[in-house]
Each structure stands twice: as structure tokens, then as C-alpha cells.
Amino acid sequence: MELRTYIIRRLFLLIPVLFGVTLFIFGITMLFSPVQRAMLYIRDVKQLADLPGVIELYGLDRPFVLQYGTWLGQVLTANFGYSKIASMPVWEAIWHYLPATLELAIFAAPLIILIGIFMGSTAAAHKDKPLDHTTRVVAILGWSLPTFWLGLLLIMIFYGYFTGFLPPGRLSMQMDIVVNSADFIRYTRINTIDAILNLNGPVLLDALRHLVLPVITLSVVNVAFIMRLMRSSMLESLGKGYILTARAKGLAERVVINKHARRNALIPVITVSGYVFAGLANGVVITETIFNYKGIGWWAWQSAVNLDISSVLGFALFNSVLFVLVNLVVDILYTRVDPRVKLGQGVQ
């Protein structure tokens, strides 16, 4: 199947999935009172004052199906409602908080991938030797750690004990002022990138300092996961016949491992990266909450705790779309890496 056709087909399939997702979530919101649900339809602050009017207007006391229809209509006009927490429409809130989370992801993802894959394959190449055992123990510990607890511990030690060394939040107060001042142009609102673009060293340093702990907290669980997966995948790969053939050809061990074994071992890891992404999405909520790092995860949590359903719904929708898109990319990548799989076969 041709690439373009495949992508279009997959994107089409997105529709029923989103349909189902929204139906499900909307069903949950029916458990709320009309007042709370009115929040879903509010577009600006003024409407907040006139809730009964909103309820009347959108027929929030009418039967479910009609309501779903109206809500769906709202959604299709990109009106996801109003976020109490952010004091702005949900749609804008997402864009407002996204860069912070992106920044985390930009640093965490390569870390997870590089360390996980590298350590995993190294452990496999030195099976049953001390390095292997250490890696396995570390991996299992990391996998068993409650992320939130790790975050707390890290703050306790690196912020509390080593006073103020690695603080929570995104930026310290002074830097925050700098970043919002007229001299500093926020191209992307990703602080590290902006700092580089603005050639501003202190802001860069400050942003990095604030990133260290959240990135570590976010990464640990996922690194552990990838490490273990990579290790077992490598072991399987190293046991295959073509490895013996490669050695019989006279190839150096290093080449055998890097060129022949690893390429095959990466295949299942790529498959799984979609799930890793989901894991990141989960981890982001907890991590941002603990470190008071005002990104999407933080916003989602605040919304959930305050029963701000419109925000939670918006977040869930946003996440679903992202997830489906990521899976699409992963599936395509998969066919590139494994010549045995053709597009449209799907990940088994």
C-alpha cells in the first residue's frame, strides 16, 4: 500500500476512535449537574456571570442525545469550553501550557531512548557478567519506583538538603521577570530554546537548573522499561543464526553486535515506543504536579481536582489525538526498519 494512501486511511480511522472517545467521556460528564456542565460551553468571562442563561441556551437540561449533539457541534467549531484554572478558553489553555511540557519531553525523550537502548544492549552483550546484573537490578528498581515518590525524594535532597541547588518550577523569580520583559523575545516559549535564540546565558542556565529534576523523575521509569526490553530483545537477537554466520564471515565482534544484532533488536523497541509515549503522558501529570512545573500535566491535574470537566475533556481529547498520531508514525517507522512488514499489515 502506498504511503499516502496508508496515512489517509489511518487518519480516517481516527474519526470513529475520537467519536467513541468523546462519547465515552461525555457520558461521564452526564453525571455532573447542569451548572458544572455549563462550563463546557462558555467562551469568555462574561458568560460566567450568566450561568442560568447558558444552561438555557445550550439546553443542558435536555435529553442526553441532544446534548451530545450540541456538544459535538461545539467541539467541531473548536470550542472546547472554558477553563476555570487558566481563566481562558480550553483551546487557548492547551496552547498556553504546551511549550513547558514540550520542553520536558525534548530533554526526556532522547535521554530515555539513548540510555535505555545503550544500556540495554550493553547488558545483553555482557550477559551474566557484573555489568549485566547491575543493569538488571537498576532497571527493576527503576521500574518499581513510584514516580511521585522519587520526585519528592529528589526535591528533599537536592532542593532541601542542598539548599536551593535544583529548585522546582520552571524559572526562578528573577529569570521569570527577564523572560517576560520586553528585551527577551519568546519565540517558542520553550525557555531553553528561547534563551539560546536570545543569546541569554543566565536564563539558559536557570532553565536548565530547573529542568534537571523533573526530567530525571520523568525519565527513570521509562528508561528502566526500555532498558529491560532492549536487553531481552538483544538477547533474542544474539541467539539467532545470522549472528553465527556473521561471526563465521570473520566480522569483528563489535560489528556483529552493532550492525547485525542491534538492528534486529531495535524492532520491538520501536513498536513499543508508542506505549512509552503514553507512559510519558502519564508521567508528565505527576512530575509537573510535584515540581510545580506549569505545563499541560499540571493544568490537567488542577482541572481534575477542581472538577473542571471542560479542561479535563479538552486534555483527554488532545491526548487521544496525539496518541493516535504517534502510533501512526510508529507504525510507519516500523515498516521502514523491518523489511518483512508492509504498510497496512499493522503491528502484531
Binding site: 539467532k240 543464526g241 545470522y242 553465527l244 554466520t245 556473521a246 561471526r247 563465521a248 564471515k249 570473520g250 566480522l251 569483528a252 547485525h260 538492528r263 534486529n264 524492532i267 526498519v337 523491518d338 523489511p339 518483512r340
Partner: protein, 384 residues
């Protein structure tokens, strides 16, 4: 015929959880130049391990305990003690002077690389200088030709020529090696790959693969079993080895393909003058292809003779039993009584004595040494 490989007192042991397995015990074997020697035996007889020992590829937890394997190098005329060779020199021999074909061609090929890539790999590894020389010639002639090369590109082409020159002198020269790790500049060395590709296509043609250029661009899963096996053989023959080891090369193929494969092996012997170590459990196949046949049981050599001698005058009781056991229409199926020797706890003395119709008390105590019973016919049995 002169000897190519001389194996003396080879012992290979496996240290497993459950105990020590004597995979090969004091093996003496010669492979002569230009001959096809077959090793026949049941599973666990040590045939594959013998082959792997020659290449020093015994997997963990196995170890070559003792012995010597000497290669009489045709080209340099010298003797090489393979078991004592430095690893990097051993690597220069693998795939080059001695190569191996395995039982399952599907498993032997890496599914993520094309056939062509995997065969070219051998050329790029062992024939680098040759490739570099050919590449340099091509670049030089195109340069002197003058036509069609943009003047912007000319310095790069000259750089290529210099690089190839370096590699032709010293295959592991530093500058080209460093360059091969730099992403864009790597392309300068691309010609080497192209030259290797030409040799690869020729190689595929020589093993009678139709449309070799297309096949070279295909992936293993796109080929049939027979084609895969041919490709694997092409890979093994690429550098014109002095010894080709074939471990049950026809076992996983269906009978008609088998016949073609055996024909191919016969041709190899004739065309290339290589020795072939042909491992099989199928006596019929051995009879078709081999000049001499060695029979192994439980890690030890029982008998070795020319193929006619072995089949006409089988001496060792085990050989006799094997021949008796070959199914013949009209004849009742004969089996060998008893079970295979337990690898962990082999019977003392001659390993075969519990199942041997002619066993004597001495057989239980000490194994017999190889004795010549007739010209070029050795047996390890007290009957002689």
C-alpha cells in the same frame, strides 16, 4: 594428496548446569586438499562441533580443551596452528580461507539486510585492497576522460582516488577509516560498495541464481529456500576459500532441490579446487558427494575411509549398523538397539559398546585406537 587441515587430539567440553558434556574426545582427523570429506553421524555425535572448532566458534558454555588444528595454507605455504592464533588473525581466516554454510539458510541470513549487502560484506572485509584498486582505476579513468564531471566535483573525485590508493596499500589505513564514521563524507567511499556489488552479482551468477542483479537487491524473506541456500553458499565461496564447511546443507531442503544442491557441490569441487567438509546424517547424500567419509559417534571417530571402501567394506560395528538401518524397499526396517550415549554420563571405554553386537570386555575399559585396516581405511575398534 597433501593435507589441508590436520586435527590432532581435539577435545571439546561443554560446562553446563547439569554437568560436563564431552562433545568431542581426542579426535584425529585429516582433511586433504581438493577433497570432499564427509562426516557422518547421529545428532550429538560431535560433527557440528568439529566444524565449529576449526573456525574457533564454539559457543559458550563450550570450550576447546586441548588438541591442535593445523591449516596448511595453500597461498603462503606455511603452517598455521589455528587454536593458538591471535583472534584478529583468526578473523582474517574466517570467511576468507575457511568458510561455513549452515543448515538453515533462512536463519543464517539477517532479515533486515539485502542479500547483496550481506555478500558484499564479505568482500568489503577480506578483499578491501582489491576493491580499492578497482575503484581507483575507475575513478582515475573517469577523471582522465574529463567528460561529464562538473568541475566543482573534481576535487572530491581526486580525493576519492587518493583514498582508494591508501586503502589499496593498507586496508585499514587511518584516514579512510576515520572518514567512514563521518556521516556525509562517508559517501566518498561509496565506490567500494559498488565494486563489491559487482563481485557479488558475479558470485550469485556462479551459484546459478537466475537474475542475480535483482536477487542481490532483495531481502531474504523474498527468496525461496533453495535460493537462500544458494545465496548462503555464494557468501561462503565469495573469497575462494581453501576449505568450505557445509553443515547439513541439504537437510532442510526438499528432495528435488537437494539434488540440485549436490550437483552444485560437485561443481564447486571441480571448479574451485576447494576442499569441502560435508557434514550430514544422511548416508545416501554422503555417498553422492564425498570422496572420503568419516563416521563419528558420541564425540569420537569410529571409522574413516574412501567412500567406496566405506560402503563396500564397512568395518566398525557402528558403521555396519548404520548401513543396515538404511531403509530399503522389501527389507524389514533395521534399527540399532539401545539409546544414544548419554552426553553427561557416557559409557566408559568405547562409547558404542552397550549397543555393539561384537562387544568384548576390553571394550568397556579402554577405547581402541585408530588402526589402518587397509589402504586409506582407518578404524577404531578392537576387532582389528
Amino acid at each position: 594428496m597433501a593435507d589441508l587441515i590436520r586435527i590432532r587430539d581435539l577435545s571439546v567440553r561443554f560446562y553446563t548446569y547439569e554437568g560436563v558434556v564431552h562433545a568431542i574426545d581426542d579426535l584425529d582427523l585429516d582433511i586433504r586438499q581438493g577433497e570432499t570429506l564427509g562426516i557422518v553421524g547421529e545428532t550429538g555425535s560431535g560433527k557440528t562441533m568439529t566444524a565449529l572448532s576449526i573456525l574457533r566458534l564454539i559457543p559458550y558454555p563450550g570450550k576447546i580443551e586441548s588438541g591442535s588444528i593445523v591449516l596448511f595454507d595453500r597461498d603462503s605455504g606455511g603452517e598455521l596452528e589455528l587454536l593458538k592464533l591471535r583472534e584478529d588473525r583468526m578473523r582474517a581466516i574466517r570467511g576468507n580461507k575457511i568458510s561455513m554454510v549452515f543448515q538453515e539458510p533462512g536463519a543464517a541470513l539477517n532479515p533486515v539486510y539485502t542479500i547483496g549487502d550481506q555478500i558484499s560484506e564479505v568482500f568489503l572485509l577480506h578483499r578491501r585492497q582489491e576493491l580499492a584498486r578497482a575503484a581507483k582505476q575507475r575513478v582515475d579513468s573517469l577523471l582522465s576522460d574529463g567528460s561529464g564531471i562538473a568541475s566543482v566535483k573534481k576535487p572530491f573525485w581526486r580525493w576519492q582516488s587518493r583514498l582508494f590508493n591508501k586503502i589499496a596499500d593498507e586496508p585499514h589505513a587511518i584516514e579512510p577509516r576515520l572518514l567512514s564514521h563521518v556521516p556525509l563524507l562517508r559517501r566518498l567511499l561509496g565506490r567500494l560498495r559498488d565494486e563489491a556489488g559487482l563481485l557479488t552479482v558475479n558470485m550469485l551468477k556462479s551459484v546459478e541464481i537466475p537474475d542475480p542483479a535483482r536477487v542481490a537487491a532483495e531481502y531474504p524473506h523474498e527468496l525461496s529456500g533453495g535460493m537462500k541456500q544458494r545465496a548462503v553458499i555464494a557468501m561462503a565461496l565469495a573469497c575462494s576459500p581453501e576449505l568450505l564447511i557445509a553443515d547439513e546443507p541439504t537437510t532442510s531442503l526438499d528432495v528435488t532441490i537437494q539434488a540440485q544442491m549436490l550437483e552444485l557441490f560437485r561443481r564447486i569441487k571441480v571448479d574451485k579446487g576447494a576442499s569441502v567438509l560435508f557434514i550430514t546424517h544422511n548416508l545416501g547424500v554422503a555417498a553422492e558427494v564425498c570422496d572420503r567419509v568419516a563416521v563419528m559417534y558420541a564425540g569420537r571417530l569410529c571409522e574413516v575411509a574412501t567412500v567406496e571402501d566405506l560402503f563396500l567394506h564397512p568395518s566398525h560395528p557402528y558403521t555396519r549398523a548404520l548401513l543396515e538401518a538404511v531403509p530399503m524397499p522389501g527389507k524389514e526396517l533395521q534399527t540399532i538397539p539401545g539409546a544414544l550415549a548419554d552426553a553427561l554420563n557416557p559409557p566408559p571405554g568405547c562409547r558404542f559398546h552397550p549397543r555393539c553386537p561384537s562387544a568384548t570386555p576390553m571394550c568397556q575399559q579402554e577405547r581402541a585406537k585408530l588402526k589402518e585396516v587397509s589402504k586409506d581405511h582407518m578404524v577404531a575398534c578392537y576387532l582389528y
